[in-house]
Amino acid sequence: MGVIDLDRLEVRLGARTVLDGLTGELQGNAIGLLGPNGAGKSTLINTLLGFHPPSKGSARVFGLDAHRDRARIRGAIGYMPENDSFIGNMTGVRFVRYMAELAGLPSGAALERAHEALFYVGLGEVRYRKVNSYSLGMKQLIKLAQALAHGPRLLILDEPTNGLDPIARLRMIELIKEIRKEGSVRLLISSHLLRDIDETCDEVLILKNGRIAALCNIEAERRSNRSFMELETVGATEKFSVSIRGLGCECACFPGGRIKLVIPDHIEVRDLYVIASEQGVQIRRMNQRRDSLEDIFLRAMDSPMDREAGRSAHVSL
């Protein structure tokens, strides 16, 4: 039993089939939800929250049916929506406390946990001000605080770093990583920023046109291809590349001292450095090519479905 189980889930909104036969078991500690606009991410989240009944199939959260047992599920979920969502006329503390009480905490415990959650996300004195006076970063944090206050088992974050400046974004990512490390909460994070998902999630679900384009464990997918390497050099690059070709490596030179090469098995990194030393060339950057989340995403997007539509998802990275 995973965190989320989908069994031929179909959800229709009006006449449109938005989710079409989703099947899969999500088990990760932090699950990333990716996909182009209109792929059905929000609908999936709304279905898990019990807002949409499935027209066919089922979705289960912690083993409970997402529609029938939605009251129980909602008590165990913390939801941080993408858009502004708060009660402006209340102070921060009151708002978080209200939400905690609605989630089932007794009044006293709700107040305690509200303050704890606010402290944890980093909202200090600001918590005594009305929420409609908050800046964008604070509004994001208060949404996170209200999602955490009641101690949910699953935290659903929709674009958590939306609109945050770089420092606030870093802080949010750090918070998410800490929550994940604590262990009692699973996370479902929907984002357009691959970098954010890469840093925080271990499993990723990629939707496209209402279907699952990919469901994989990021760590497992990041195949390290030891033989492919990229270098950035300073110095006599041409001469250097000639020498390493002489060793048996295939390589290609690019402007700015960049070299892409394939190392055969009998050659080691050390050998490259020996040559560099002899020729006075500095190797300023060196990394082995690994499948990144971007590669996984692009592969998922560039599937047969896409080729039929005649649209190529080539992208300059």
Partner: protein
């Protein structure tokens, strides 16, 4: 260990039952509604008629005092069903004003900043949400309708020389039922109209309009079609007729008296269903 790390920790304490969440919602709604000075001011104003009615009851039961106040005793004050009809009517107008102010406060704060997705992601259904707000509104309105009216009734029972209570218990029942019908209707009407518009001031205006405009329309219908059925749309009048029948008070308006009770009730029910439909359209998580 002297250094304390305040990390996130899970919650392991007791969890309140599901039905209690509606009560939480009602409680917070009630607090939001009454946190405004205007609400308190309106409530205080509503006490004015109450005091006047108290005085009238006192005078009615004390002929000596009555003589002192009214030099000529050609007017005799009697406290009967007609009197309580008057109190109910007065308090019900006050209830309308209170609804127009309070109902937008209950709903608009939630809608203004799109709090519904977060609210409804908690274990509270849309029905539960509306019911909680309804209870907050209903409780607030009770404080200005049947509660003071019944208090007046009790005072009358107490201060009446003859045994008055037993004979007139039906008045008490009528007061309660009549008030409950009106405030239930007002509550759902107020909530529905507040959910439909964006600004609280506009919602206040529309709530008043919703009571007066149909009255005007009904008047036109009556005049054009030369019938009394237009009065069905005139809520103050139709409610008064209903109350009159519940309290057993004498007729006050011949033209209105031809309205059959089932018709009045049907109109109220239909209007309420319309309000429920409006709420169904607006109170959504997405």
């Amino acid at each position: 260990m002297s250094v304390y790390k305040n990390n996130y920790r899970a919650y392991t304490g007791p969890v309140t039952p599901l039905w209690m969440r509606i009560y939480v919602l009602a409680r917070y709604g009630f607090a939001e509604a009454w946190s405004s000075k205007i609400t308190v001011a309106l409530f205080t104003l509503s006490l004015l008629p109450f005091i006047i009615f108290l005085i009238i009851i006192y005078l009615a039961n004390n002929p000596i005092a009555q003589l002192l106040v009214f030099k000529n005793s050609s007017r005799s004050l009697t406290v009967d069903a007609g009197f309580f009809l008057g109190t109910l009517q007065t308090q019900s107008w006050i209830a309308l004003v209170l609804t127009a102010w309070v109902a937008p406060r209950l709903i608009s704060f939630d809608l203004a900043d799109n709090a519904l997705p977060i609210l409804l992601s908690h274990p509270i259904s849309r029905v539960g949400y509306v019911f909680g707000k309804f209870m907050a509104m209903f409780t607030s309105l009770s404080a200005v309708t049947w509660v003071p009216c019944l208090l007046l009734f009790v005072y009358q029972c107490y201060s009446s020389a003859q045994p008055w209570a037993m004979a007139n218990l039906s008045i008490a029942v009528g007061l309660f039922v009549g008030a409950v019908i009106w405030i239930a209707f007002l509550s759902i009407l107020g909530l529905a109209l507040s959910s439909w518009v964006k600004w609280r001031v506009v919602a206040t205006g529309i709530i008043f309009a919703a009571v007066f405009v149909p009255a005007g329309v009904g008047g036109i219908v009556s005049a054009v079609l030369r019938t009394q059925w237009g009065l069905l749309l005139n809520f103050p009048v139709s409610m008064s007729v209903l109350w009159q029948r519940l309290l057993g008070a004498p007729e006050f308006m011949r033209s209105a008296s031809s309205l059959p009770t089932p018709a009045i009730v049907t109109v109220l029910v239909l209007a309420s269903l319309l309000c429920v439909a409006m709420l169904n359209a607006r109170i959504r998580a997405r």
